[in-house]
């Protein structure tokens, strides 16, 4: 039982989550419960961030999580991590919802409701470390890269809308989203080994 870890090391969750998803694909409800416990806080948090309205966010999170159950067999580990797969489903659904709502004028009103409350102070503390790292890396982007990415990802705007909002050309916005994400990827140390 001597010293074993002398480096920051990758956590188990990535592979473990993939295994869970594989079990879920075989109809294993117990595995789904574990998957829920691991990913629901991020799925729900992301839905709240994008959709804003708590009741609607809950609905969207539920739809997304049931979709994960239904389509788990389509997850291909060669194409990415299980959490990215699940969060992509949630993100798309949340974006679809907010765009469907877009015509209605109360989107702006909801946007005014800022940060969501946390139930647990220590959870808040730890989530903050993650947020801080993300924030630090976002600060490393140019203003245009950062605004383009956050408007699209956290608020569900399309790149055309982003171009309008920022008064920039379409090719520029497309390019800034891509090179901004690449810079973010390098800063956060996301890699495909």
């Amino acid at each position: 039982m001597a010293a074993r870890d002398d480096q920051p090391r990758p956590l188990a969750p990535a592979p473990a989550t993939g295994d869970l998803l594989t079990q879920v694909a075989r109809g294993d409800e117990a595995a789904f419960v574990k998957l829920y416990d691991e990913l629901a806080p991020r799925v729900y948090g992301l839905c709240r961030r994008i959709v804003r309205d708590p009741a609607q966010a809950e609905e969207v999170a539920q739809e997304a999580l049931v979709e994960v159950w239904r389509t788990a067999g389509r997850y291909d580990p060669a194409k990415g991590s299980a959490s990215a797969w699940v969060l992509t489903i949630a993100h798309r659904r949340a974006v679809d919802r907010v765009r469907a709502e877009q015509a209605s004028t109360d989107r702006e009103r909801r946007v005014a409701t800022e940060e969501v409350p946390y139930d647990d102070v220590v959870e808040q503390a730890t989530a903050r470390l993650e947020r801080q790292q993300v924030r630090r890396c976002l600060q490393g982007l140019t203003d245009l890269q950062r605004e383009a990415i956050t408007l699209a990802y956290y608020r569900g705007y399309s790149y055309r809308e982003v171009a309008d909002l920022l008064g920039a050309g379409l090719p520029t916005v497309k390019t800034r989203m891509r090179d901004g994400l690449i810079r973010l990827r390098d800063c956060l140390g996301v890699s495909f080994a």
Binding site: A2, P8, R9, A40, T88, R176, V190
Partner: protein, 234 residues
């Protein structure tokens, strides 16, 4: 026009395209390996933006989801899952912090009860300040079948350790945490009697090169009983 479709990789990874563009880019992905690889990485990156939004969902969400799952048949697989296992790595310290998040409410309880701190908010604020320190360093490791995460800030000269999943220490016994500086152990807190995990905040962390856990009588000891249950290099 079609030759600049690669530039949609960014908007696509952010779901910032319309349905037509999405379908068009999906078709492109099937034939362009470099875009497929890039989109996979950009999606992972975007997922990290989602990590930062984590919120505990209401309990009724779980009930509702599980009830719906119980009556929802699964779609057939589109194809047999491919063999190769993707290895996704997250080397950043922030990702390691997710290890603490995973411990969740249990750790919060320990912080509050075991430290006998009356004001839970003050305690949490202390943990927060350490986690938020710009120079916070996170180390994590497996230890005696459990897991330990240590966050140290040299500028605050403080640290916080979260230990979980150790074997039951037995009645009247407890685990004690130690900072080790050049082979000299320094008490970093004693977990509750019979507790197999917990969190401790400690100070005077400068120069520490190892973090260790020992098995002691409840209440702890002045020097650790050796051999240690386990240790992690800092």
């Amino acid at each position: 026009m079609s030759d600049d479709i690669h530039t949609l990789a960014g908007p696509y990874a952010l779901d910032a395209v319309d349905d037509l563009e999405r379908a068009r880019f999906d078709r492109h992905l099937a034939t362009c390996d470099s875009c497929a690889q890039e989109v996979a990485e950009l999606r992972e990156t975007a997922t990290r933006l989602a990590d930062a939004t984590e919120v505990t969902p209401p309990a009724r969400l779980k009930e509702a989801v599980l009830a719906e799952v119980a009556r929802t048949p699964q779609a057939r697989r589109a194809r047999a899952a491919r063999g190769g296992e993707a290895r996704w790595r997250r080397w950043t310290a922030a990702a390691v912090a997710a290890g603490i998040v995973a411990i969740g409410a249990a750790a919060a309880t320990y912080v509050v009860e075991d430290q006998r701190v009356r004001d839970a908010q003050a305690q949490a604020a202390q943990v927060t300040s350490i986690l938020d320190a710009p120079d916070a360093v996170v180390r994590t490791g497996d230890l005696a079948g459990g897991r330990v995460t240590v966050v140290l800030s040299a500028s605050l000269n403080k640290g916080v350790a979260v230990v979980q999943g150790l074997p039951d220490p037995g009645t009247g016994k407890a685990y004690q945490l130690w900072l080790i500086k050049d082979r000299q152990p320094q008490n970093a807190g004693v977990l509750g009697a019979g507790a197999s995990g917990g969190a401790r905040v400690f100070s005077d962390v400068q120069g520490a090169d190892q973090f260790g856990v020992s098995h002691e009588k409840a209440g702890g000891a002045g020097t650790p009983t050796t051999p240690l249950v386990g240790s992690v290099n800092l």
